[in-house]
């Protein structure tokens, strides 16, 4: 190895907050999730703060091609900069938050424990942000204080 990372990268932009970051995909560890997300890019939506998992932002996925991905690189413990995938039917088929079948991407910016009202969650860890944890911390707390923000994820 010559130290050059060949992983595919994505860019995350929140223009309202002048925030931009890059992340590399964990293609060896989560190949199907990475491929599905890559094919779906650009992904746009409103990123909002989680209400049970701690210091983590969530982006709900509307593209049904991103529903029902298999669990890969499953983790219960997450760290700042981790990007995760979660699908509602993994837990239990049916309505959650008044919605049937949905999926979301999680962006961890501090101490977080993926969970819902009932229990801890297992999530698929599929990417890691390259920027410092400090910039993510600032982003996460701003979203918490001021509400959801439009985000776009695209290929680099």
């Amino acid at each position: 190895m010559n130290g050059v990372c060949l992983a595919r990268r994505i860019e995350i932009d929140i223009s309202e907050l002048n925030f931009s970051a890059r992340a590399f995909l964990l293609e060896d560890e989560a190949p199907k999730t990475c491929e599905a997300v890559w094919r779906a890019l650009p992904i746009e939506g409103k990123v909002i703060h989680t209400d049970f998992s701690g210091m983590m932002l969530n982006l709900a996925l509307k593209d049904e091609a991103l529903f029902n991905l298999p669990r890969e690189n499953e983790v219960k413990v997450v760290r700042p900069r981790d990007i995760t995938y979660w699908y509602s039917y993994w837990v239990k088929p049916g309505l959650i938050r008044g919605m049937d079948e949905f999926a979301e991407i999680g962006f961890v910016y501090g101490e977080a424990h993926p969970r819902n009202f009932w229990d801890e969650e297992i999530v698929s860890l599929f990417a890691v942000v390259e920027e410092s944890s400090e910039s993510l911390m600032k982003l996460g707390k701003t979203v918490r204080r001021t509400g959801g923000k439009e985000m776009i994820m695209r290929k680099v």
Binding site: H49, T50, D51, G54, M55, G110, E111, R144, T146, G147
Partner: protein
């Protein structure tokens, strides 16, 4: 029986809260002395359907634990004190570096708590007040005027 009102200023939604003076006398007295206040309520990040406003120094009320509740229901109004010092890497998103407190209400059954001073119950317009609170995470904080009712 003392009552307070909570008014969402932009949304123009009002509720009345009966204070639980027998169960939480010190909390009720301190909150009554603290009012009136206009506070921005954000969503909790680990408790579910919980809206909270930071009471950061110098605008802080310090009250010991009283009438602790761990299973809140919609319409519960509560107080919580964090002794500090604040962990800058923690989830707290206010301005204090020392201690802080929170005024809290719950707007859905899907909520949990590690123990808060339960001191009031919403008695009017609960459905509308709770429905509006569901929008905080997506749309941002709700400014609420809280004052005594004579």
């Amino acid at each position: 029986m003392a009552e307070i009102e909570m008014v969402m200023l932009r949304e123009k939604i009002r509720t009345v809260v009966i204070l639980l003076e027998n169960e939480a006398p010190r909390t009720c007295e301190a909150i009554l002395n603290f009012l009136p206040q206009e506070l921005d309520f954000i969503n909790g990040c680990a408790s579910g359907a919980e809206a909270l406003a930071y009471l950061d120094p110098p605008n802080i009320v310090r009250i010991e634990e009283e009438n602790l509740e761990r299973h809140p229901i919609p319409g519960d109004v509560a107080y919580w004190y964090a002794r500090g010092p604040v962990n800058p890497k923690g989830s707290y998103a206010g301005t204090s570096t020392t201690d802080y407190a929170e005024l809290i209400y719950f707007y859905d059954r899907k909520a949990r708590s590690t123990g808060i001073n339960l001191f009031g119950r919403m008695t009017e317009n609960l459905d509308e007040f709770c429905r509006a609170s569901h929008r905080i995470r997506a749309e941002g904080p709700i400014r609420i005027l809280i004052r005594k009712l004579e």
